[in-house]
Each structure stands twice: as C-alpha cells, then as structure tokens.
Symmetry: C2
Subunit: 206 residues, 2 copies
C-alpha cells in the first residue's frame, strides 16, 4: 500500500468513526484531520470539500455493511433460515445503525450525493430481502411488503433500544417478528425444498 | 388565557416546530425566540436555560403524541382491531417521527432529563401495546416481544421512508407486519370475544 493510499484510508477511517459517534453535520474536516494523524495537505489533496470526504466515508460504511449483510442473505441456506440469521445477527443496539441514523442527520438528507449513498444501501437490502421472501412462494407485492417489515424491524429496534436505553429492545423486536414468521403456513420448513431438510445442516451459517 | 401563559405557549410551539425541522442540538433559544414573536424577557422568564425550553417542548410533543395514540389503543374495539388501527394510522412518513428522530440527536441523548422524556414515551407505548397482545391470550413474554416488534415497525418504517425517499415505505412495512398478524391462529377474529364479531362495527375507530 502506498503512503498516499494509506493517508486516504486513514482519513476515511477517522471520518467513519466520527460520523458514527457524532453525526456528519457536526463533524468538521479539521476534526477528521486531527483524528487521522495525517498531514493537512493530504486532506485537501484527497478530499477538496467536506462533501467529498463524507461521500467517501459514508460510502465505505455502506460497502462494509452491505458486504456483511450479503454474506448472510446470499448464503446457500434455505430462504427463511437466511432471513432469520440476518435478523438475529448480534448488533450493537445502543449505538444505533451507523447508516439508519444518517436519516435523522439533516446535513445528509439535504446533500443529494450523500442521500443517494444512503438510499442505495436500503434499496439493495430491500431487493435482497424481497428475493428471499419470493423464494418462499409469496406473491411479489407481499414479498416486497414483508421485506420492508423485516428491515423496519431492525431499524426500529435500534431506535427503541436507544430511546429506552434498553439494549435488549432490538432483540425483543426481532423475536416478536420471527415468532410471527414461524407461525405462518410456510414458516421455516419450506415445502419446495424438502431435500435440504432431510439433512440437518445447522452449521451452514457462520 | 393570560398573556404570560400565551407567551409561554408560543415559545413552546415555536420550539416544537424548530426541533421537528432541524433537531434540538442545532436549534438555538435565540431562533426559538425569533420564531415565537414574543419578547426576549419572556424567554428567560419562562425558560432560564435551553434545557428547560427543550424539556418543555419535547414534553409537549410527547404529550400530544401519546394522547393521539391512546385514543386508538384504549378504544372499545377488539384488541387486534385497535392494534391494526394504530399501525395503519396515516403518518407523514418523510418527515420522520418527531420523537423517534430525537434518538439520533446527540444533544438529546446526552441530556438525562430530555432522554427521560423520550424514554417515558416509548415505555408508555410499549406497555399499552403489550397489554393489547396479552388480550389475545399470548403469554406475557411473547406479548412483550410482539409489542416491541409493532413499535419497531413504525419507527423503522419512518427510517426506511426517509432513507429511500419513498413515503410508501412506512405503509409497506405496516402491511407486511399486519399480513403476518393476520395469518396467525388468533388473527383478527379473537376466539374469546365471539360476540363482538357477530355485530360488524367498522366505524368504531375514528
């Protein structure tokens, strides 16, 4: 890795941390510069404006989060198992979702380029979740609604946890939702994939 | 109403509007004063500090929201009808929840008095929703989880709507969740209240 790349990466890392801790609006490029430890020239060389820095940092956060989500959502497990594994993944509830919280950050919502990065994240997740529900033989519109519900559970669970200071609130919301999925006619035993269920493979999802 | 009361109310109204539009952190008492049109003396007479003004304004927003929610949740309709009426209530999705958004406002989260007001709102709603699910003969822990899920759907639906710029995202999440409730064994026809279902009363919820 060249030192130029490294300085850029350190700036992006520092911006990701500060944005997560205090929001994009209140974070100055000067604070990012101080936290990164790189020289001032590197900041303006790589990111002439705060907008450029924010797009790079929020983009990196989105890329990381999508890669993690897709490892679960695109695995070889049966559809509902993938979904439940995604929903039940351990999350730092009291920290809030690094990306969802940006929707309350007016500096992000007012910046079309930044807002586009946030939109792309949720559109991509909704598409993957809709596809999972389609695999359970639901009609397209029902699959789409249910994908919205699944994603809303996570985002709303974060809000509840922060609001009530109860880190268990997110897990409770997920349990409530998964319990409703389990009582449905398709539940976790998908009728169109009987062969996957004759062989128990509990270790498929890392 | 005395002019003193009126000045206080105008300050609180202005603060509620500005907090909803731009957050508590970035809103200065000076901006609230300007928007309210009252004299500077009234501001410092009624609210010596920004904290006092914020507690009063966020408290008023919480009181309004709770009163509206309880009219639906405490009505005489059967439990699941009250729940679905609450979930399906029209909401300004793109504006976000005036109270839920405060959980992303570090100035609110860092102020114990303000945070308490936000916590009380969600705890009160969770209690009412848990009670509704208990009425459908669910065990206490399942009722509590499902209450978290119901509230998370609303809060997460707001986040999704703002993130994707799609006002329909909140309604889609609610439809996805209500669809799951409908397919359960208790669904909308509560077995322990058959008499209420022999007489159709579609107008019970205003």
């Amino acid at each position: 890795m060249s030192s130029a790349t490294s300085a850029r990466d350190r700036l992006v890392d520092a911006a990701q941390d500060l944005f997560a801790a205090q929001g994009v609006g209140p974070t100055s490029p000067r604070a990012v510069l101080a936290a990164s430890g790189v020289g001032q020239g590197s900041l303006y060389h790589h990111f002439p404006t705060k907008h450029d820095l924010a797009v790079a940092a929020v983009g990196a956060t989105v890329d990381d989060a999508l890669a993690r989500a897709m490892r679960t959502l695109d695995s070889d497990s049966p559809a509902v198992e993938r979904l439940v594994a995604y929903l039940e993944r351990p999350r730092e509830a009291l920290a809030g979702c690094k990306i969802g919280r940006l929707t309350a950050d007016q500096a992000v919502m007012d910046d079309d380029g930044l807002h586009d990065v946030v939109t792309a994240y949720f559109v991509r997740l909704l598409r993957a979740l809709t596809q999972i529900f389609r695999e359970t033989d639901l009609p397209d519109d029902v699959a789409r609604d249910r994908a919205h519900a699944a994603l809303a559970i996570i985002q709303g669970g974060y809000v509840l946890a922060r609001a009530t200071r109860d880190p268990g609130a997110l897990a409770a919301a997920v349990r409530g939702f998964v319990g409703l999925l389990d009582q449905g006619p398709q539940a976790r035993n998908e009728p169109d994939r009987p062969s996957q269920h004759s062989t128990p493979t509990p270790k498929e999802n890392p």
